[in-house]
């Protein structure tokens, strides 16, 4: 178990930066959250963040990812929830790759 003091300081600085980014929005909302426009924006932000995060990998990857995304959406709606959607999506990607899709 070896560690250099210089590396430990750098790791501490990195952890501080990550916490500053994560906590910054949370703290700022104590004041910004009183504004109705900000509250309305944050009502829409989670869904917008999620589709933004999903769409770029989907457009960059091949058909297997699309098969997985369709399976995820359909199974979440029909089988009712997170677990069947997630397992179905992963299974669909594995099957699609086995069938030759990338």
């Amino acid at each position: 178990m070896s560690a250099s003091p210089e590396n430990l300081v750098a790791i501490f600085v990195m952890a501080l930066a990550a916490m500053a980014a994560k906590g910054g929005g949370f703290i700022a909302m104590r004041w910004l959250g009183r504004h109705r426009f900000v509250a309305a924006m944050l009502d829409h932000a989670p869904g917008a963040v999620l589709v933004s995060a999903a769409v770029v990998p989907l457009t960059q990857a091949g058909g297997a990812y699309w098969a997985g995304a369709i399976a995820a959406a359909v199974l979440t709606r029909t089988a009712g929830g997170f677990t069947p959607g997630l397992f179905g999506a992963v299974g669909a990607v594995a099957l699609a790759r086995w069938a030759g899709l990338q």
Partner: protein, 224 residues
């Protein structure tokens, strides 16, 4: 949270291998993963890791690479308005992509649970740190080959979580236009800027569009 945690396995192993090649010890690699717990920014930091260590550049690059969490934290705060000050850093720590996505959906449906949020985040931190340690120990060995995880579809778990949670959060017609705006702006941001700014920019654009549209519908004045 175990399956979403396993999504980080191939990336974690890859990061462990890269950290070993940069000269970090197994302890330093694991400590970094457990305390920073943000894979992309750790990878960015490794890129600029040199002697003497550029501390300011490390701080700025990790902060900027994690700016999407700023938006996620802001969206989370209204659900935890009276959280004691000493619990807040714990919530910030466990605010990572999949854990946030799952729990923001629960809070919105009125089923949010702080214990589950913190516990899920801790499990993800253990899996992430463990996978980077595994990669470090196996650097150059069979575990550094990500094709096995890819064959099993595990590289898709991260994206699958976003799709599943978006499907759960979908409220019908009122979400269509803001989400379409978010998608178009995210793709444009990825194409024009690169990196992972597209999550922040697309999320803000979709949120802004939705808020402006709601204000117009209710006939209220938009803030100047």
């Amino acid at each position: 949270m175990i399956l979403p945690g396993l999504a980080s396995l191939p990336f974690g192993i890859g990061f462990g291998v890269a950290a070993a090649q940069k000269g970090l010890s197994a302890f330093e690699t694991t400590l970094m993963s457990f305390t920073v717990m943000a894979g992309t920014s750790q990878m960015v930091a490794l890129d600029i890791w040199a002697r003497p260590l550029p501390l300011v550049a490390l701080f700025v690059s990790v902060f900027v690479a994690n700016l999407r969490y700023f938006v996620m934290g802001a969206a989370l705060q209204p659900h935890l308005p009276h959280l004691p000050w000493w619990q807040q850093p714990l919530v910030w720590y466990v605010t990572v992509d999949q854990n946030w996505a799952i729990n923001i959906a629960e809070y919105r449906r009125g089923h949010g649970d702080l214990g589950r949020f913190l516990g899920g985040g801790f499990i993800m931190a253990c899996i992430w740190s463990g996978s980077t340690l595994l990669g470090h120990l196996a650097a150059g060995g069979v575990l550094s080959d990500p094709t096995a995880a890819r064959r099993l579809g595990l590289d898709f778990v991260g994206v699958a979580v976003f799709v599943v949670v978006a499907t759960i959060l979908f409220r019908g017609k009122r979400d269509l236009a803001p989400w379409a705006v978010a998608i178009v702006v995210a793709l444009a941001a990825k194409w024009s800027i690169g990196g992972n700014w597209y999550i922040v920019i697309g999320g803000l654009a979709g949120g802004l569009f939705g808020a402006l549209r709601d204000y117009r519908k209710t006939g209220e004045k938009t803030p100047s």
